[in-house]
């Protein structure tokens, strides 16, 4: 195993120092290391994404475990959690193990499969959660993401059942009857554009119900992609009462608003939809405050033909792995410890993922990423490593460039390029 010396690196913005990497761990010395000039670069613990769609198996034309892993490594990630809405659905030990194995074979990030809560994401019957938990993939997070576990009785059972193996249900909070045919945030812009509205209350009502259910059965709940100011208030109250709830926000909900739909370009169509400027502000404040625990990408690659069409016919979702850290940097500024907390330590802790999200002290696993905060980059969809091009940031200048990423002491990205 090669040793590395990161010369002059700043740990979370501190004064420059030298960091040695030996045998996959941070060390205080090394002999004959490969030297990486890290002057001006900031080291963060490797980022952890609790919400990624890798599309394999089923839609390998949009993304594969390998291309998605490369995209993640280039974004500074060392672990990603792959959502279950593949084809076939990741609702059995067989499918989650397949995804897990593909991730290990790609070897660019740790791919941790998320298991479906219900068979086929149909919301009728629990999937074999225990079998997925005890599979080689060791699933701990379960989600029907893309669909809400709308049946309150089923949601209660799921929350209770996973306690046996310290599992967590990650809910896509969307009351389905309130969002039938919904195309974008319900408000002034949807009225003007004649697009069916997705009311904020459809998210808030489910979160309110679920925190009460989680409280009632004493279980952990994780809320996916929180998008409204009202949801933030529901979460704030639940946390104040001591409910074991965590929540994520996506980079796009921290930056973009529903006004972008006015172009009718479905690159801006996403679920939950882009909201208003006041929602964006509330989400930013909640992220700083900790009412929202983490940033998760909801990286959702789609084939060109699924976006190059009428708004109503397009699939919702945006790619996000390669732009997440730059977007968060533009929103939070260079608050490195806060960024590490929201994008690495806390997501690893929520998932119970050991070896990630640890501080870069001697003896720790060398999962880290190096960022050049002074660089500016104009996002060019053609340059993305993802197999898909549906980024909402085309032509946008974003701060920060991910220069290198290390997974267990081996570089997955060097000089801003994937090593394989």
């Amino acid at each position: 195993m090669t040793s590395y010396l990161l010369r002059g690196v700043s740990l979370l913005g501190a004064a420059p120092t030298d960091v040695h990497i030996v045998d996959g761990r941070i060390s205080d010395r090394s002999s004959d290391p490969e030297i990486i000039d890290a002057a001006g670069l900031v080291a963060l613990p490797g980022l952890v994404d609790l919400h990624t769609h890798l599309r394999e198996p089923g839609r390998e034309d949009a993304e594969t475990v390998e291309t998605g892993s490369r995209s993640a490594a280039l974004g500074g990630y060392t672990a990603v959690f792959a959502m279950a809405n593949t084809s076939p659905v990741a609702d059995t030990a067989g499918v989650v193990e397949q995804v897990w194995r593909l991730g290990r074979e790609a070897g660019l990030v740790d791919v941790q499969p998320i298991g479906a809560v219900t068979v086929g994401l149909a919301g009728k019957q629990l999937a074999e959660l225990g079998a997925m938990a005890s599979s080689a993939a060791g699933v701990r997070i379960f989600s029907d993401d893309g669909h809400c576990v709308a049946d309150p009785r089923l949601m209660r059972r799921a929350l209770e059942y996973v306690k046996a193996f310290d599992g967590i249900i990650a809910q896509h909070a969307e009351e389905p009857r309130l969002t039938e045919g919904a195309q974008m945030h319900e408000g002034e812009v949807s009225t003007r554009l004649g697009l069916t509205g997705w009311p904020a209350v459809a998210e808030e009502a489910i979160i309110a119900r679920d925190v009460l259910l989680a409280e009632h059965v004493g279980s952990r709940l994780h809320v996916c992609h929180v998008s409204t100011a009202g949801s933030v208030e529901v979460l704030r109250q639940a946390k104040a009462r001591g409910v074991r709830v965590t929540a994520e926000v996506t980079p796009h909900h921290l930056l973009l608003t529903d006004e972008l739909a006015a172009s009718y370009d479905p690159v801006y169509k996403v679920n939950p939809p882009l909201r208003t400027a006041s929602d964006v502000q509330a989400l930013r404040d909640a992220l700083v405050e900790g009412v929202i625990d983490i940033v998760a990408t909801d990286h959702a690659p789609h084939a060109v033909e699924d976006k190059e069409c009428e708004w109503a016919y397009a699939r919702p979702g945006m790619v996000g792995l390669e732009t997440a850290l730059p977007v968060v940097l533009s929103v939070l500024g260079e608050r490195w410890d806060l960024i590490a907390e929201r994008m690495s330590r806390t997501p690893a802790r929520i998932a119970g993922l050991t070896g990630h999200g640890t501080d870069l002290s001697v003896g720790s696993p060398a999962n880290l990423t190096l960022v050049d905060p002074s660089a500016r980059r104009v996002v060019d969809p053609a340059e993305l490593a993802s197999r898909s091009r549906n980024t909402p940031y085309a032509g946008t200048t974003l701060p920060g460039r991910i220069v290198a990423t290390f997974l267990r002491g081996e570089p997955t990205v060097l000089d801003g390029k994937a090593v394989k």
């Binding site: 195309q183 319900e186 408000g187 002034e188 812009v189 949807s190 009225t191 003007r192 554009l193 004649g194 697009l195 069916t196 509205g197 172009s263 009718y264 370009d265 033909e305 190059e308 069409c309 009428e310 708004w311 109503a312 016919y313």
Partner: protein, 307 residues
């Protein structure tokens, strides 16, 4: 002149007035023995219809033909569209055939905006989803101006299913631009959220038709689909027509000079009674005739004719 007519918001007051004045000249033509102008000879207008709408298609077809354009009707039924061809591929096909203008009717809001990105010619929105129908607003404005002599300061009530109505959106935008005062009337379930902020801050909303009628110069009844009942927008057709339908008793509450409009097709007995629809205050048949003139004016001006 603007290149596309995708929304009534594409029109400022001067442009809208130019179109209405031009429509007036076109209407004069209808009285002549030879109803045809050579203006668009050699130009190609495609009617690209993804929804059945015989009346709108015929109106555009008559408008283009009276201007001597070559007209191609491309209907979604029985074409490659039903085989799953994308809007983009259809657009590229029309582009390759040299369409100078594409008139599009489509069930998805915003389809004309997407189309305009893929063709070089002008795009005219002939109704997109629950978004807009700007030529309907132009013919309505033309009809009001012909009957009442002005638009500035005119008080117009638009009554019914505003939420799903492309006619209402275009009318609010255009009539506000031209100085009219709009009151939207309907059950709260059928009035979209933030409508005033979305379209025009001066727009008023009322849930009580009877209290609004005495102050109106124009009342425009919108078609209400009985399917909305199944979705609980209102309890029954009978209750709807009792509260928001225009019958003779309600019509008598209007000032003497006020007119009654409807974009068609009507549900007689639902939002409007036959006695009202066929009364001398009703402009419904006139609206159809004016539709051809307004659409002639739009095609003429968009395709570079001189006013």
């Amino acid at each position: 002149m603007i290149k596309h007519l995708r929304s009534a918001a594409d029109l400022d007051a001067a442009t809208a007035t130019l179109i209405l004045d031009t429509a007036g000249e076109m209407a004069a033509l209808a009285g002549r023995e030879v109803k045809k102008l050579p203006t668009l000879r050699g130009r190609t207008v495609v009617n690209l219809f993804y929804e059945d709408s015989t009346r709108t298609r015929i109106s555009f077809e008559a408008a283009a033909k009276r201007l001597s354009a070559d007209v191609i009707n491309f209907s979604a039924k029985g074409s490659s569209v039903s085989k799953g061809e994308s809007l983009k591929d259809t657009a590229l096909t029309l582009q390759a055939m040299g369409a100078d203008a594409v008139v599009i009717r489509h069930p998805a809001s915003g389809a004309p905006h997407r189309l305009a990105a893929w063709v070089d010619g002008s795009v005219v929105n002939a109704g997109d989803g629950t978004h807009e129908h700007p030529t309907q607003a132009l013919l309505d404005a033309y009809t009001m101006r012909s009957r009442l002599g002005r638009l500035d300061g005119l008080r117009v009530a638009i009554v019914g299913d505003v939420l799903h109505s492309r006619v209402a959106r275009s009318n609010v935008l255009l009539l506000t631009t031209l100085g009219a005062e709009i009151t939207l009337v309907g059950p709260p379930t059928l009035i979209p959220v933030d409508i005033a902020a979305a379209l025009s801050p001066k727009t008023k909303v009322s849930y009580d038709l009877d209290s609004v009628l005495p102050d109106m110069d124009v009342v425009m009844m919108l078609r209400v689909q009985t399917e909305r009942m199944q979705d609980s927008y209102f309890p029954s057709a009978r209750e709807y027509s009792r509260r928001y339908g225009l019958d003779l008793a309600r019509m008598r509450k209007l000032p003497e000079h006020a007119i009654v409009m409807h974009p068609g097709p009507m549900n007689r007995g639902m939002e409007i009674t036959p006695e009202v629809a066929d009364s001398s205050r009703s402009t419904i048949v006139e609206q159809v005739a004016n539709g051809v003139s307004a659409r002639m004016a739009v095609l003429y001006l968009l395709l570079g004719g001189k006013a």
